[in-house]
Symmetry: C2
Subunit: 354 residues, 2 copies
DNA sequence: AACCGACATCGAATCGATTTGATGCAGAGA
DNA sequence: TCTCTGCATCAAATCGATTCGATGTCGGTT
């Protein structure tokens, strides 16, 4: 009593009212005389009571106000990608004012995860957001379903009972591809996001290209094919990081018959390619054109601006936030697909005349 | 019953045992006959029961398994800094296996925050971590104290009842300063982290230098002073971002009597300075030396390696994780101060001979 | 045969709040 | 004066689990 923190019952006793009345004084849900409320609040202040314990409230209401965000990768890697960060910021900004908190659930260090994440199994959450392109055989997804937690999937494949939020990246890729083709390029190479857990690094064989597991590289490659691009090489990277783009750029630009244009599946990869080109003494875009994906502002490339396809990251976060809200009010929100916009920068131009 | 999810009581009824026995079957805390446990687990599987509801467990135990991390800034800005990310990754990696989740609590968009963050006020958490250098007058800190939530403060000022985790950045700054002085530099400029909520941009006046509110720039400046550096200019930036470093670099290196060395309070700022120097046609380190703080790997500067003072970011996260664990077992963990290590890269050298 | 201890199981209290339905009281209308 | 209405208040049930203390049963010891 003296040692532990005061409870609503203590406050009610001190104010000389019942627990229910004290509850009403805090929640305001129900009729209460102003004088009584004041008395309760005064007693609470005197006891240094900091408001109703959220645990009790949660048990009663069945709501925790927590949105679990499954990163599907280690934070270290995932959060070096501004794409994740900006979306998460948009999400947190939308959710915060609604009283929701974001619980980070990082992926396992071993890939594919051998054991289920204990947090997915046991953490309290009202809604889960898979921000990593979920697939149907995802073990985490199965667990969330069993627990009865509504799921929002970002850029994943369409799944039964899951709210989708996506971007038109296939269309965006096609636009980007058409832009590059329109400049007159014929020898075009592609630097892709990882195909699966293997996260290989190197030029992908036709066999490898036929077994792309993850949705995002598949869609973006398909979009480029739609544009009519027949790449001279498709280079797979282990993650969307500058250094992997650099490695790919060196590999693609060092050999004979180098491509005149390189299209990367992310701006981070593309910026690595630009850096590699510069290191090799190649001018961008005079000697080689480079295009990316996402539409980020990359200060270290300035004054160059990457040609890219912009996705509305903050809006993506906001859309997810609204979907969370809708799920909490018992609605089944519609799947949303956000459009992308071609951004022509300074890193693409006509191919060199030889 | 049929509509809502099954509870432990339903499982117990189906298995023909009491609720307490069913609880024992799941928790394993107490003697139970293997046959009985099997019966309960079978009944649970038949009912599609996914294990005890964490809300109920939490109310009883008073523990939520959630660690609140107060970012103290917008995610967007804060997470563009690899320092925060890597530390957060270390923290999440340590906490995850212990069954703790990380709840992100972003700072308000308006600065200083006019209203209290509702999450600080009401979110469930066992421990709060202030990763942004807390000051004594922090409103969030007061709220957390009132709620009786133990607080861990990273790189903040020493505060009553708060567990400190810090780095020896004052000492590190001194080592870095000695290194630069030892090379023979006399005209040294400093690019600092923001002094307070105002987040000004530009050369700081002596008056301004006397009223630094935030701990980190104050300590790092003090460390450089300890080394015997009397800077020709101290340039304050609004945030630790590449573009702000670039702005500062342009301002400091464009005028007459430019400094021969620039020391920045973060690697991100320092890398901006390097980029600015390159844009101005200055060679690093032949024309100007640049040093940073944190010891990050910045792929876009390669093959250059920034001279810097490394802090053990992953270890910092791990130390915080262990402090959380200690606080949960009722101990009062000792404050920890991690040491830094001078890393001499390729961006510092002797001053140009004129 | 009486007793004791170990062990499995159960009933009931507990955690801290919300919420429903009941109660009491005051003022208005007949 | 009696009743009816409306409002403030309260007692008790509820949310879903954990845990303490009690009960019952069985085997073994003296």
């Amino acid at each position: 009593m003296a040692s532990s923190r005061p409870t609503l019952a203590d406050v009610a006793a001190a104010a000389g009212v019942s627990v229910s009345t004290a509850s009403l004084a805090f929640s305001g849900a129900g009729p209460i005389a102003p004088s009584t409320r004041d008395r309760v609040l005064t007693a609470a202040a005197a006891l240094d009571y900091s408001g109703p314990n959220p645990l009790g409230r949660q048990l009663r209401s069945g709501r925790s106000g927590i949105v679990g965000v499954l990163i599907g990768d280690q934070l270290r890697r995932s959060f070096r990608d501004p794409v994740s960060i900006q979306m998460l910021d948009g999400l947190a900004s939308t959710l915060g004012p609604l009283g929701f908190g974001v619980l980070l659930i990082p992926g396992a260090a071993d890939e594919p995860p051998a054991h289920l994440d204990p947090l997915v199994e046991s953490a309290v959450m009202d809604v889960a957001v898979l921000i990593c392109g979920a697939t149907a055989d995802d073990a985490n997804l199965a667990t969330l379903r069993r627990r009865g937690i509504p799921v929002i999937s970002v850029e994943g494949e369409p799944l039964e009972g899951v709210t989708e939020v996506g971007i038109e990246d296939r269309v965006g890729a096609t636009e980007l591809g058409r832009h590059v083709l329109g400049l007159g390029h014929e020898r075009i190479a592609i630097v892709t996001l990882p195909f699966d857990w293997q996260r290989r690094s190197g030029v992908a064989s036709p066999a490898r290209l036929a077994e792309i597991r993850w949705e995002i590289p598949r869609r973006r490659l398909a979009g480029l094919t739609d544009a009519g691009i027949a790449p001279v090489a498709v280079y797979e990277t282990p993650a969307s990081l500058v250094e992997h783009g650099k490695t790919a750029g060196h590999a693609l630009l060092s050999g004979p018959d180098r491509p005149t244009a390189i299209i990367a599946h992310s701006d981070l990869l593309a910026s690595g390619v630009v850096l590699a080109a510069r290191e090799l003494g190649l001018r961008v875009p005079e000697d080689v054109s480079v295009a990316g994906f996402d539409g980020l502002d990359l200060p270290w490339l300035a004054p160059d601006v990457l040609t890219s396809v912009s996705q509305p990251l903050a809006e993506k976060g906001a859309v997810i936030g609204r979907a969370v809200q809708a799920l909490m009010s018992g609605e089944r929100p519609e799947p949303t697909t956000l459009s992308m916009a071609l951004r022509i920068g300074t890193t693409t131009g006509p191919p060199p005349t030889r």
